[in-house]
Symmetry: C2
Subunit: 385 residues, 2 copies
Amino acid sequence: MHVSCSQPQLLQAVQKVHRAVASTTTMTALTGILFQADENMLTLQGTDLDLGIIYSFPVEVIIPGEILLPARIFTEMVRRLPPTNVTIQLLADNTVELTYMQSRVHLNSLDPNQYPSFPEIEGETTLEIDIKTLKDAIRKVSIASSSEDLRSIFSGILLEVNPKAQQFNLVATDTHRLALYRGSFVSSTIKTDDEINALISSRSLNELARLLPGEEGTVQITIGSAQIFACHDNLKLYARLLDGKFPHYQQVIPQSYTTRIKMSTRELLETTERAVLLARDEVKARSHIIILQIGETFKIKSEAAEVGHLEEELSAQIDGEPLTLALNGRYLLETLRILDSEEVVLELSSPLKPIVVKPEGQDNYFCLILPIRINTTVPEREYHG
Amino acid sequence: MHVSCSQPQLLQAVQKVHRAVASTTTMTALTGILFQADENMLTLQGTDLDLGIIYSFPVEVIIPGEILLPARIFTEMVRRLPPTNVTIQLLADNTVELTYMQSRVHLNSLDPNQYPSFPEIEGETTLEIDIKTLKDAIRKVSIASSSEDLRSIFSGILLEVNPKAQQFNLVATDTHRLALYRGSFVSSTIKTDDEINALISSRSLNELARLLPGEEGTVQITIGSAQIFACHDNLKLYARLLDGKFPHYQQVIPQSYTTRIKMSTRELLETTERAVLLARDEVKARSHIIILQIGETFKIKSEAAEVGHLEEELSAQIDGEPLTLALNGRYLLETLRILDSEEVVLELSSPLKPIVVKPEGQDNYFCLILPIRINTTVPEREYHG
């Protein structure tokens, strides 16, 4: 292989595929980026077998062929090259020579025959989704996926396709909270009327969102038997589906509420940040318990033993029954941070039933948070003293 | 104590003193920030006994007095408060109440009687130095101080005052390299004609540089028997002097050279960055050895066993004898990064004598780097093959 291309284009391509490259693996080939040059196009590929990314861009191809280079050192070197023309050439001894200006770098290459093939794109269901919608959905749902065990179903995001309604849902839960986003396709090819499900790792979907450009255009998603495929311009991505059954989440979603509060998203966010700072329970050390007290007014309270305590009253429109409950303030924070509406709505029913957090005026998204059971006599004594 | 002030001013003050607060200590009082309110001024103080910072600003003082609050939690809380008026009040039970809008936070306070006093400013030598000069000197010299043992003399910066010349030197060395900056005072009070020396930790001088504003004005430095004091407007800082004797560094500084190279600082920096990336010696794993080869042309070479190697030729004005030597590329990188001259000069004498790196056209600074002894037959075989 022998190609000539510009450093800025090469760097952009390398950065796109690099994040799919395996960082820890016993298969040396997976630590590399595969380069294939053919008909004035250079195609780069990275994969850790769970996620694979292919990106192509036009270059001057002097000799077609393929090479496999160690991803880390190659990426760091390309980042430091001057913004000029670079040639990449495979030499007879299987080293690869990069030249630029009067300089040259030799890198030892890996055996491209050990590199896995990109799976054939297969699947009877193909959705065309607006990029802006897909990015919004991934951003708002992935906050509820678990980052603890990346193989568990709770690290995944469920894609539910409803052919009749021409809609899709993205759903994630870590058992303490659940986020759901409903979106529409631009168009689709679906050969069934039944609902279609695919469980995809949150990491893969977030990498897809990162790779897609700005907000214009659409992306094709094909759901296969063992993976999904995404295609956009010169970019192809596959993500292996997670094994295991996502929980029957519908039964957890409250159908009614007794108390509804509407307030400024920003004010609730800032108060919650302060409350979380003073929310340390020595027993449930990671819970960051904050108390919501809804009566004539809406108050948030928290305390950290031996450090201090906080009590804030917020301006809010309150409808319904008085209620006091406790929840993990970090979960509320993470939800408020991804909302883009000026106002937020909380719907509550009882101290131990899920709280629904919704952006005011947007019906396509909510995040549900399970409260924490606390000894209700303690806050009375502690907070009204 | 009971005061009222604006959150942005309070935050600014807290952030100034916070970095002197002890993070690990057996004296609980040192983990706090001391607040003293008197005559419409609030004075904040933080110290770990090696470094102390005092900062004052005007507030509305309702009741004068002092309180000691845990620095970490207080700083994090003030950062999250709304940009409005905040009151700080000591209550009868020794808790401190912060109020803002309809909200309040209670923090447990520490015993201010356990807090050390700021040492009296004493010393017969006082220098008035341009802030811009002092910041420039600290930035350019501290790269050569060691960050490994913060109590060692090699973590310090030597301040040498020459009363006759009305000049000062800042000098640092970690035994592998040495940086020297020569500056002038604006004015001084000195009661001796002898040279005056003070060894100050690099950390303390860098905190001083961080605290001083933009580039206008001057700062007073008083050299006492056991510490130096710096004063500027409402800011006071003390730094305990390091024990131990700084090496006789003058004898290391080369008085002549056989080879002199002048080139673009940016080009040498970028080439060195690439060379360091491919500079891994398995035996001297932390050395990042790069080879400078000066003949008709100036070449930089490096190699990482099993990964690859690099050879670059740079445009340079070369005067003097041919020479090949090896050095730790990271040391050269750190020097080049702090230079602000377009061109850089390297002065060399022999493969094992120090290389002097100077900004072209600036005589008040240099950094000297000791070469590394390598088996010279190896580079011949490896790099000319």
